[in-house]
């Protein structure tokens, strides 16, 4: 099972619980400010994604750079409203640009035996390192290779946890809303009465 060497400070479950708590709080805060039903589809999606990222970053805390970068970006976007919209769309631009970094293999140029495979390999590593920096929040900051690899590992581990939490929340909500639709009165006693009544 992967993750044996993971470098998280907290246990996986503790992190997910923290993430979940932050996520629910964040979503509630947003819906308090502006009801989801009043937002456009796009605004709603953006709000949820942003809440998920902020929740993940806040749950991670210190010990890595990427959380700070996420929180800084979120703070900037709330104040200026310029948006995580830019971050989102540039994410897709990056996906499109993947092809750009495909390795170009050339035979040794005539007469320039010094353009060795070592140089090509080095250039390739450099290009791919740059590409990696772009997908890690705060990866653009000056840091050596080893730190970048550590950031990447840390980020991957916590991204996976974020995916897991989001998946479970969606499933739980899905189950819940179908239960409500078909048998509103049969939900467990305590919570059923007050909140579920439509």
């Amino acid at each position: 099972m992967q993750g044996r060497n993971c470098t998280t400070g907290k246990s996986s479950t503790a992190f997910k619980q923290e993430l979940l708590k932050n996520l629910l709080r964040g979503l509630r805060a947003r819906t308090d400010a502006c009801a989801f039903s009043a937002m456009s589809v796009h605004e709603r999606k953006r709000a949820v994604k942003s809440s998920a990222d902020v929740a993940m970053a806040a749950a991670r805390g210190v010990g890595a750079r990427w959380p700070k970068a996420i929180l800084a970006a979120a703070a900037a976007s709330t104040s200026s409203n310029r948006s995580s919209c830019q971050v989102r769309s540039s994410r897709f631009r990056r996906v499109a640009r993947r092809c750009f970094f495909r390795e170009k293999r050339r035979g040794p140029a005539a007469g320039v035996a010094a353009a060795s495979s070592v140089d090509v390999a080095r250039r390739l590593v450099r290009r791919r390192t740059m590409a990696l920096r772009k997908v890690i929040p705060g990866g653009d900051a000056a840091m050596d290779e080893a730190s970048l690899l550590r950031e990447a590992m840390d980020y991957v581990v916590h991204l996976r946890a974020q995916v897991d939490v989001l998946r479970r929340v969606s499933e739980a909500m899905q189950i819940r809303s179908s239960l409500l639709r078909y048998a509103p009165s049969s939900i467990h006693g305590q919570e059923a009465s007050s909140s579920m009544r439509q």
Binding site: L24, L27, R44, V48, E145, L149, V156, V157
Partner: protein
């Protein structure tokens, strides 16, 4: 352990590389060429992060749709938390 040192030892890099490799999905490990493991690894890591990003995007979309069809009561949130514990 900030990036102030001039050179990180090869050993340390190799250790990080193998740890990172352990995190990536199975398929990328099998195809790993000896020739330039570093660049292969960087590419796989980059791809993996991007695919995780896509997953998060899709799940967030789904979640936002689900939320829009529900009441916005905060008790909902408490209930969900209790389901997931």
């Amino acid at each position: 352990m900030s990036g102030r040192r001039g050179r990180i030892s090869d050993e340390e890099i190799n250790e990080l590389i193998s740890k990172l490799q352990a995190l990536l999905p199975e398929s990328s490990r099998r195809r790993n060429a000896i020739r330039s493991p570093a660049s292969k690894l960087l590419k796989e890591t980059c791809s993996y992060i991007k695919s995780l990003h896509r997953e998060v995007d899709d799940l967030s979309d789904r979640l936002s749709e689900l939320m829009s069809t529900m009441d916005n009561d905060s008790p909902q949130a408490e209930i969900i938390r209790s389901i997931l514990r």
